[in-house]
């Protein structure tokens, strides 16, 4: 028997970065603002937590510039739980991303929920050892983020609304175009790449595999167990729940119910069972009434 040599460990490879996203599949990633909430999330079966100062519903309400969270707050959450801890950086703000990487967060979300720092450029994510997740409203946006080094894509939805309609629109747009590309012939793939403003190689890869090169998760508006079941059936591989848990009447049981519904999403009797007596979901918002659509941030 031989031992591997500690010096020959390769860190930050694409396989290692996408690998953590693979391990989170079928799970629920929950937004938390305190170590106590992080513990409630872990107790309920969350696969990871997103550490941030305000959930999207509050960011939306408060207005102003939303930035990366206080490192002390992120460290407090890292100390409270054993599951992966993610944190958000502003779009294009590689300075914030460098700080988050130095804190050893497990994933960075380059997120439209925060105020963008750069109106033309996203972060060059290949330059980091820590993996990134990015939002997308359509396949072209997803592939541009992947070409910049994102190792997980989440459909954006409309964060902080408790309204699933935008998440459904974005998921259907991404998975619908993937299905169409698998039917396209070789000549048509060039046009797909042009229409999507995406690298041809990634379009050709999708034509071959019928799926994104990285895991596709869903975010933005999930508030109930049935919402989780819906988006999983529409092709999401895991769900992010932001305001939906800790803006509801009774967060612990709701968190647990959404975890159960995400695992057993094909079994309506389980979704029904866990949906009973959860109290009120977070208050929802109609799209027409919004001053700011967060999903429109990012390019």
């Amino acid at each position: 028997m031989n031992s591997g040599d500690g010096a020959s460990h390769l860190v930050g490879t694409v396989r290692v970065k996408r690998g953590l996203a693979d391990m989170l599949r079928g799970g629920v990633i929950m937004d938390v603002v305190t170590p106590e909430q992080a513990k409630i999330a872990e107790d309920a079966g969350a696969v990871a937590v997103m550490a941030l100062e305000r959930v999207p519903a509050d960011i939306r309400r408060d207005g102003g510039v939303a930035r990366m969270s206080d490192p002390a707050m992120i460290e407090g959450i890292q100390a409270a739980v054993t599951i992966p801890v993610m944190a958000k950086a502003r779009i294009g703000h590689f300075g914030e991303a460098q700080v988050l990487e130095s804190l050893d967060v497990d994933y960075i979300d380059e997120s439209e929920v925060l105020t963008p720092a750069d109106e033309a450029h996203h972060i060059d994510k290949w330059a980091f050892t820590v993996p990134f997740v990015c939002g997308a409203t359509n396949l072209g946006e997803a592939l541009r983020r992947i070409s910049e080094g994102a190792c997980m894509i989440r459909s954006k939805g409309e964060a902080g609304t408790g309204n699933i309609v935008e998440a459904v629109r974005h998921l259907r747009s991404i998975t619908g175009d993937i299905r169409k590309i698998t039917q396209a012939d070789a000549a048509e793939l060039f046009d797909w790449a042009k229409q999507l403003q995406s690298p041809l190689g990634l379009v050709q890869e999708i034509a071959e595999t019928g799926r994104l090169p990285v895991p596709l998760f869903c975010a933005g508006g999930i508030a109930t167990p049935a919402d989780a079941s819906l988006v999983m059936q529409l092709g999401a591989e895991a769900v992010f729940v932001g305001s939906g848990i800790f803006k509801s009447e009774d967060p612990g049981p709701r968190a647990e119910a959404i975890v159960e519904a995400t695992t057993h999403y094909r079994d309506p009797s389980v979704v029904a069972k866990v949906s009973r007596g959860l109290g009120s979901a977070m208050p929802g918002l109609e799209m027409e009434g919004l001053d700011t659509k967060l999903a429109e941030r990012g390019w």
């Binding site: 028997m1 031989n2 031992s3 591997g4 040599d5 500690g6 010096a7 020959s8 460990h9 390769l10 860190v11 930050g12 490879t13 396989r15 290692v16 690998g19 953590l20 693979d22 391990m23 989170l24 599949r25 079928g26 799970g27 872990e42 309920a44 079966g45 969350a46 696969v47 990871a48 054993t82 599951i83 992966p84 990487e101 050893d104 967060v105 497990d106 994933y107 050892t129 820590v130 993996p131 975890v259 159960e260 695992t263 057993h264």
Partner: protein, 219 residues
């Protein structure tokens, strides 16, 4: 009638149940099918009917532990494991098959199917996740092993055969880092790995397990 090509597995081949509560279950199903076995996903106790062996995939062990309890699978699997059913656990799956877990949650339940103590996230957080060439007993060529927030085996009982070890990088999270730690172990019908053979196209570790399943079924 044209003869069916036997690229697909026939009924005489073992049926592997891949526990699919959370994590990288689909990759295990694909790997077992490539290696010539049949494989199904297991989410509830009834899914274990007809299954000859199980695989517990990578994922979050705290989440799986929670879902094993709520789905009723914990008791159903415990009973089958006690009856000698072969099991293969990777990363979180290794933690679940161990006797005890260090740095886990106090309420985390394990099957105790293999006499090892496992330290969770022992190699560190995600920025320390790595790939390495691993030499293992029973494999002629090195295996490209992918370690993601991986656990290691801190104690292996006398009944446990250590098939591969690795030297942790010096920046691992634990003080007093050992010079080498077991990362692939076997005991009776149980096989466990710290790393994720399901994430690479190399199915040799799955083949080792299928050989163990074959031996167990022949008895």
């Amino acid at each position: 009638m044209p003869a069916r090509k036997s690229a697909t597995a026939s009924d005489s081949q073992p049926l592997i149940g891949v526990v699919a509560l959370q994590g990288a279950a689909a990759e295990h199903v694909a790997a077992f099918r490539r290696a010539g076995a049949r494989a199904v996903e297991v989410r509830v106790p009834a899914d274990l009917d007809g299954v000859d062996a199980v695989a517990l995939p990578g994922g979050e062990s705290t989440t799986m532990s929670h879902l094993l309890r709520t789905s009723g699978l914990f008791d159903a699997l415990s009973e089958r494991l006690a009856g000698g059913m072969p099991a293969f656990g990777t990363c979180a799956g290794m933690i679940l098959l161990a006797v005890d877990v260090l740095d886990g949650r106090p309420d985390q339940r394990c099957f105790g199917a293999i006499d090892i103590s496992v330290r969770r996230n022992a190699f560190g957080r995600q920025v320390a996740s790595f790939e390495a060439e691993l030499t293992a007993d029973g494999l002629d060529e090195p295996f490209k092993a992918v370690f993601i927030r991986a656990p290691w085996v801190e104690r292996a009982g006398d009944s446990v055969e250590v098939l591969a070890e690795i030297t942790p990088a010096s920046n691992s999270s634990t003080d007093g880092v050992p010079s080498s730690v077991p990362v692939l172990c076997r005991s009776g019908p149980i096989l466990v790995s710290s790393f994720h053979p399901e994430l690479t196209a190399d199915d040799r570790i799955h083949q080792i397990f299928l050989d163990m399943v074959g031996a167990s079924m022949a008895r």
